[in-house]
Symmetry: C2
Subunit: 329 residues, 2 copies
């Protein structure tokens, strides 16, 4: 049995939408139990038939744009209590929220704490690529700003474990994000990390930002700040292109007819690009599975976040990281 | 009369293609003269009717992937000599190449030297945005890796001069790239630069990577390394989306028919996204106009690089930067 601690409150679309995702998830995963944090007035009617959900009252909600310091004032919030429960209850495998990323990173780091020898937890996103169904794991995308070479090495190890255990890549390839493919390019910490990673068979060298999504890479490691720039410029460019595609089809009657004919192709494209299928971001390196669904998750997105938490728990990823990091330093 | 020193050799498509761009440019800009560096065997026949081009023999070509140190060994190359000529000949306004970016940055910095009080020259790219015809100027995109707060402030000033003088924005808005829109977000140098920029009326605060291309910003300032990540992830994502659009239209007979109907809309989109129209990158802050066309420039791309160099020369941008920076420190 997998047990998850789930915050149903903080999100753009609200607890009813997230609850729908949770119900769908429980249907597909019969070996899973959930402690669900939120307002019982809203949640109890939704889950009254579902014995595998225990409602845990918490009426406070963490605002989406909370600062790390502010977060610590929300000790009665659904997010704080959900993380705390994962700490207190040994039988819980992981925690899932779609609330504030900043709050979640601080909360997990302070409450769940990093696995021994993990220098920094890494905020990790599986990215969709141009190859349908193929995901590339990128970390850190913003838990830190600047990382040391040793932290980057730690990210590389955790990322490759994730690709192996959750994405089922037998021999995941790991790259360092850089501004040039050749050795010696990039920020000092990254050049030093290259030196430390060189002898690992899974380390394949540097990768430029333009090649990250070509579908040939399993893991790309970066300091948090450029990782965050990478994430957001991919999002921004994709959204710009999407609005230009819409505009192109809306130009006149002919282009509108064109859309009717081309629709099936563009539906495929939409599926390839559906980031909701990735479930959101993961905080790798803390003592429980920790998944942060997109803030604007619909039921399907939240379903996928729960599915990722489930797969990580089943894959015993926390145990694997503990094992791998045991002999460090 | 505007005079340019032009390297016609280093590029992916070769000197004949670039020469075609130069000829087109000279037709449209009758008040321009050029010293053209390259192999006279190739260039002389092309320009034999064009009195405004003086061929300058240089048989050596700088490889595209040259390191800064290697570049200094190519003292007889078309790029090196073109830059040197801009230094030696006072009447020359600027230099244009489509060869190695790294070589060009080193060459311009060492030979032309920075304008007094310019702490660092900034490699600057006008980016196409989702608003057709609207460009956003981003610097630095990779002349440096890490920049100080004072360097970022200097980039902000130079960028706003460029937007005013070349893009004809009367009151250009200037932003700092960051991982959050609020003050206090980002790398230390950027937080410090925010403090220093705050009192300038043209400074509008932080801008996240996802909003850079929304067409509402004139200048976005960043350290070189994240700037380079931004540039390349935009390129990579746009190219991924383009190949997915092609795939969508090629799916089956219906989608192919759809393309025939929708073609005119997608041609508009292609024009909006045609980065060749921007001409390439500019090194702002050295003592002459310095334009680096895309390595894969065709005649049209190179034409636009020459046009940018022409507009910068006409707009007296070097003089404006000298004037603006005179009273610094």
């Amino acid at each position: 049995m997998i047990k998850l601690s789930v915050d149903l409150m903080g999100s753009d679309l609200g607890p009813v939408e997230l609850s729908k995702g949770l119900l769908d998830f429980l249907k597909d995963y019969p070996d899973c139990e959930v402690k669900a944090f939120g307002d019982p007035k809203i949640l109890s009617p939704i889950f009254k038939e579902e014995k595998r959900v225990t409602i845990m009252e918490s009426l406070q909600v963490v605002p989406m744009e909370v600062s790390p310091v502010q977060f610590l004032r929300y000790k009665k919030s659904s997010m704080y209590l959900a993380i705390q429960e994962a700490k207190k209850d040994d039988s819980i495998d992981g925690v899932v929220t779609s609330g504030s990323t900043g709050g979640f990173v601080v909360g997990c780091t302070l409450i769940l704490k990093n696995i021994a020898n993990v220098l920094r937890a890494g905020l990790t996103a599986p990215f969709i690529t141009q190859v349908r169904g193929k995901q590339t794991v990128i970390l850190d995308i913003g838990a830190s700003n600047v990382n040391t070479a040793d932290e980057l090495v730690c990210f590389a190890k955790m990322g490759s474990i994730y690709a192996r255990k959750v994405l089922n890549e037998q021999n995941p390839s790991v790259y360092l994000l850089s501004n040039g493919a050749e050795e010696g390019k990039g920020l000092k910490e990254s050049v030093d990390a290259y030196e430390k990673l060189k002898d690992y068979p899974w380390f394949k060298g540097n990768c430029e930002a333009r090649d990250v999504l070509d579908g040939t890479r399993d893991v790309v490691v970066t300091s948090g700040y450029p990782g965050n720039i990478l994430l957001k410029s991919i999002e921004g460019t994709a959204s710009m292109m999407n609005s230009l595609i819409k505009k192109a089809f809306k130009k006149n009657l002919f282009t509108k007819i064109g859309y009717l004919f081309a629709k099936s192709g563009f539906k495929d494209m939409k599926k390839t690009l559906d980031y909701r299928a990735t479930g959101g971001a993961i905080l790798l390196g803390v003592n429980k599975v920790a998944v942060k669904a997109h803030g604007n998750s619909n039921a399907y997105g939240f379903y996928n976040a729960l599915r990722v938490a489930y797969s990580m728990s089943k894959g015993k990823i926390v145990e694997s990281i503990k094992e791998e990091m045991k002999n460090e330093r």
